[in-house]
Amino acid sequence: MKIKLTLLFLLLFSIKSFAQLSLSETISYIDNKLKETADLKRTYNSQYTYILSGLKFSTHSTNKNKVVLSFNRAFSDNTSDELQYIFDPTHISEVTIKSDTNTEAVGMMVVRFVGETVIDRQKATKLTETTTKSFTFPYLRTDKLNAERLIKAFLLLKDLYNAKKSPDPFLN
């Protein structure tokens, strides 16, 4: 009985502590999940592969209301690119798993937004900048629970950013 109670207590404690991650802890959690895919391969357009590197998920250096996701891809045809997405977590509308037929270690999540509010920078031969409504986020799917963990983490991040917004003085 004592063991059961202890286990139950530990379980409750772990659930509670997960839900109580602060904003910086949540960013760090997602960053660590992202970095689990470093140097791993993923197939691209069924004929090339790429290796991920330079993975980073952090707060924007000058705008604390925004988060930056960046990573590099080194393709099997010896080309490479650098991707960067800058977004406001309060604009997240949905996080889903990208459907995929292959069984590689690295899967992709799709993070969608309420509008075209994500700044999308890509550098291959030259830097291009546009805006987008979504981005894909690489994660390690060898652990079956990772997708669900990341969906929860992104939604928690949205909640935390919403909570830190001060109430609007003109209309809420």
Binding site: I86, H91, G115, T117, I119, T131, D168, P169
Partner: protein, 174 residues
């Protein structure tokens, strides 16, 4: 009868919520922040041609504290760039117009209209510098939050009210 004070409290709190207590500095900062929410985001000015906003500021006009200066830079997809400055007196605000859902951009404009052509408009682009006056100015705001249009309208009206309140009574006629 006990519930009367309770009702009075609710009415009082509703009244205070509907009337913002921001002062001039805070209201200017509020509108400036709303504009800055659009930084680096795109707007379709003539579908599919788009432009990107940057360098947005909403602040006191340095030479005349009774006026506000609005700065924004438009970076067109074509590579062209236009720097715009509006200088206006908030007590001249007369009304607003909105751009109705022609596109699904994250950013749209509120048109702030004034009594007469009292908005000074300065534009600098590849054709050179031009200064003129107009009866409205276009202020960008984030369209993805459906409440923002009404927030902007209220904020500009609040600013007008604050500027009217700080005006010294005219010695000849009010």
């Amino acid at each position: 009868m006990k519930f009367i004070p309770f009702v009075a409290l609710i009415l009082l709190s509703t009244a205070s919520l509907s009337q913002s207590n921001l002062n001039i500095d805070q209201t200017i900062r509020y509108i400036g922040d709303k504009m800055k929410d659009c930084d680096q985001l795109k707007y379709s000015y003539y579908n599919p041609s788009r432009l990107k906003f940057s360098n947005m500021e909403f602040s006191y006009f340095a030479e005349d504290k009774n006026k506000i200066a609005v700065n924004l830079t438009l970076n067109y997809d074509s590579g062209a760039k236009e720097e715009i400055q509006y200088i206006f007196n908030p007590t001249h605000i007369k009304g607003f117009a909105y751009e109705i859902g022609a596109n699904a951009d994250a950013v749209t404009y509120i048109h702030v209209q004034t009594e007469g052509n009292t908005v000074i408009v300065k534009k600098r682009n590849s054709a050179g510098f031009k200064e003129t006056t107009d009866w409205y100015m276009k202020i960008p705001y984030l369209n993805v939050d459906p409440l923002n249009q009404e927030r902007m309208r209220k904020a500009f009206l609040h600013l007008k009210k604050l500027y009217l309140a700080k005006k010294a009574p005219d010695p000849f006629a009010n």
